[in-house]
């Protein structure tokens, strides 16, 4: 059979966000893959340079809908280092608590998406139901389901009440019980294992060479976790183990994430048990000193890096974000080769890709074609395009106002 190229994306049922994968097939086997990213580029880094630090924080939080706290914490840590702020212990604990709750919701979400990619919708429904428990807590603590806006420079904005603590602890028990069940499903259900094991294989050396991060790397026995290697926030005070697996395939990535869920439950219990008293934040200056800082953070998907260059004013000179998904793309290309087309969605999904995190730049497909329009010209073009297709807004507006006259 001759080679055929099939497009997955930019719009495709397997993808929750736009990205384009061109998969060249040899029969049902994948021969090579070409990817094109950048559909979600929003110019956030540039926009940060025109905003004050505190305004940028809210923008940074909106980079990603799943790991919003990861980006905002990485950014906050960098700014705090720049300003030399000492964050109170209680603030750090609450920040870490939100981070772990976010990890739980992200991993449960991923587990469901992964199950959906291999056609196991029951697990999707179950994990997403349980994820709501965490979402409720995040909404309770931050006032919002996704962009909690808990961080601020010098600490956090919201405190915990004893009621909330008891509530979270209770739900952690429920979640642990259910996660045990999912772990059992993932390790015992024959069709699920058949679809996951020996799929998307990547050796330890390859993972290190290609710079994979997070659960993707840890499932290839790369023992790397920023929370332990370069502790930040309250992580020096808690006991946890870094989950590593030697399956080197998608199955291993499932196991790593499920085990990390258990670790997260344990971390949250420790945090709530040892929650220190005191203030939750210190006051931060408006103007930050000049200097360069680099901040690392273990997001649910892997290491998230933020770089900030301050110039002594209230606006950053440069903000650079390296989201974990970006570090994993090259690994995907390696992992996907030699698999079947049926495995393409799960291999891509196995790194838990977040396109909006990653898309820091766009690539022009035809850099010399096309034309640049001003805003007015674009508007005129739109009006005329619709008129050519039989839809005249000027006409409609006239009719509408006439009708309103008659009604009066």
């Amino acid at each position: 059979m001759s080679k055929i190229t099939i497009p997955i994306g930019p719009q495709h049922p397997a993808l929750k966000e736009p990205a384009s994968f061109k998969i060249t097939l040899n029969g049902e086997e994948i021969y090579s893959m070409d990817m094109r990213l950048g559909y979600n580029h929003r110019g956030i880094e540039k926009a940060c340079e025109q905003r004050t630090y505190i305004q940028s924080l809210y923008l940074i939080e909106r980079i990603c809908g799943i790991c919003s706290h990861s980006h905002s914490t990485a950014f906050t840590q960098a700014v705090e280092e720049l300003a030399g702020l000492q964050v109170p212990k209680r603030g750090l604990y609450i920040r870490t608590l939100i981070a772990e709750l976010e990890r739980i919701h992200s991993h449960l979400l991923w587990l469901g998406v992964a199950a959906h990619e291999v056609g196991f919708d029951t697990l999707l429904m179950y994990t997403w139901r349980d994820r709501e428990l965490v979402m409720d807590h995040l909404a309770e603590l931050g006032g919002n389901r996704v962009n909690y806006a808990v961080n601020t420079f010098g600490g956090v904005r919201r405190d915990l009440t004893p009621d909330e603590i008891a509530h979270i602890l209770k739900d952690m028990d429920t979640l642990e019980e259910r996660t045990k069940y999912y772990a059992q499903v993932a390790t015992e259900e024959a069709t699920l294992i058949a679809r996951l094991s020996k799929v998307g294989v990547m050796s330890k050396t390859e993972a290190e060479t290609l710079g994979a991060v997070g659960p993707t790397a840890r499932a290839c026995s790369v023992d790397r976790d920023v929370r332990r290697d370069d502790p930040y926030a309250a992580y020096p005070d808690v006991q946890f183990k870094v989950c590593v697996d030697d399956h080197c395939d998608v199955y291993g990535r499932v196991l790593v994430r499920v085990n990390e869920l258990f670790e997260s439950y344990s971390i949250i219990r420790q945090l709530l048990k040892n929650l220190p008293e005191g203030p939750i934040a210190v006051k931060a200056p408006r103007r930050m000193p000049a200097g360069e800082v680099f901040s690392r953070y273990e997001a649910p998907r892997g290491e998230d890096c933020h770089y900030i260059k301050g110039n002594g004013t209230d606006k950053p000179d440069r903000v650079k974000i390296r989201a974990p998904t970006l570090a994993n793309w090259r690994a995907v290309r390696k992992m996907i080769e030699g698999n079947y087309l049926a495995d393409a969605p799960i291999v891509i999904a196995a790194i838990d890709p977040c396109f909006s995190c990653t898309d820091r730049a766009i690539e022009l497909v035809r850099p010399h074609g096309g034309e640049v329009l001003t805003w007015g010209a674009l508007r005129q073009f739109g009006i005329e395009w619709h008129r050519r297709h039989g839809l005249d807004f000027a006409d409609l507006n006239k009719k509408f106002s006439q009708r309103m006259e008659r009604v009066k």
């Binding site: 049922p13 397997a14 049902e28 990619e117 029951t122 069709t191 079947y340 087309l341 049926a342 969605p345």
Partner: protein, 311 residues
């Protein structure tokens, strides 16, 4: 009377109603097992009407006549097959020696139309889905044939009505066909393209497979054909493997018949709840490694038993 039988009961109208009803039963059970609410009872009908009202789009490169004919052909073939299957008693609407084989062939036609529909849609996803449909057909069709024909061999009759009559007279012998029943249920999942064998229309891989380019009333007819195929296949399984309660009064018989279909639909719903979709090569391997030998073993058992029964 024959016209009434064909058009209304137990013919086309009943089939359409049952098809839509059991689609609801299937979706509702699937949803409840997944801890969801599930659709209201009229949802399949509402979907059908909505699709009928939608715009019909035929790809530019496709042959418009063939494209439009495929859903009709699928629907016709499944309805035709239904007339030869005994439902709540031991007589079918039409019957002749060898109709068991004809029904099996009529039930193959929908799969062939899926293939042709996908192939003539000329889009990549459709073509891939079409090829997968056909690959899958080669995997499940032979075990399914053997599973259905093994009981026929024991009954020494090649009409479905005759087979049912035989097993209604010897209900204990029907238990002998339990392995074939299991094989038939699993292969039916392949025929009806349900999880774990929904490979030809795997949503996350090839969008909707052969149906990707279909819209409007063509898609509505295809979906109706698939719904009816569930009923026909369920009736076939019920007639051959569950020959119980066939001599009761007609109203009780109909209730028992509907319960049997519910059982088949429930089995399908359970299997698609608890499993993930397999890959095409895993599916083919599974069919040839396990289902075909199991069906062959059933043939052997039936041959031996037949030898004892008819010295």
């Amino acid at each position: 009377m024959a016209i009434f039988n064909i058009l209304v009961f137990p013919g086309i109208l009943f089939l359409v109603a049952a098809g839509l009803w059991f689609e609801f039963v299937d979706r509702r059970m699937y949803a409840r097992m997944q801890n969801r609410q599930g659709p209201p009872w009229f949802q399949p009908l509402a979907d059908f009407i909505k699709l009928l009202a939608k715009e019909t789009i035929i790809p530019e490169d496709a042959n418009p006549r063939l494209f439009a004919a495929m859903p009709v052909l699928a629907l016709t073939a499944t309805i035709c097959a239904f007339f030869y299957i005994p439902l709540w008693n031991t007589t079918a609407l039409f019957s002749f020696q060898g109709d068991a084989i004809v029904v099996m062939y009529l039930l193959t036609i929908p799969t062939m139309t899926f293939f042709l529909a996908g192939w003539y849609s000329t889009s990549l996803y459709s073509t891939l889905g079409a090829v997968r449909s056909l690959t899958q057909l080669f995997a499940y069709e032979i075990p399914l044939f053997m599973a259905v024909l093994a009981p026929a061999m024991l009954a020494n009759d090649w009409s479905l009505a005759g087979i049912t009559k035989f097993y209604a007279a010897h209900p204990l012998l029907a238990l002998l066909n339990l392995p074939a029943f299991c094989v038939a249920m699993v292969t039916l999942l392949g025929k009806l393209e349900k999880v774990p064998f929904d490979i030809p229309e795997a949503e996350t891989e090839i969008v909707a497979g052969a149906f990707t380019e279909y819209a409007g009333r063509h898609l509505a007819l295809f979906r109706l054909a698939i719904d009816i195929e569930v009923i026909v296949a369920g009736s076939l399984v019920a007639a051959i493997f569950l020959p119980f309660g066939l001599t009761l009064p007609w109203w009780l018989g109909i209730i028992i018949y509907l319960l049997k279909i519910t059982l088949v639909v429930a089995l399908i719903a359970i299997m698609r709840t608890i499993m993930a979709r397999l890959r095409i090569e895993q599916m083919v391997n599974f069919c040839w490694k396990f289902l075909a030998p199991a069906a062959l073993a059933q043939l052997m058992i039936n041959l031996v038993v037949k030898g004892f029964l008819q010295p």
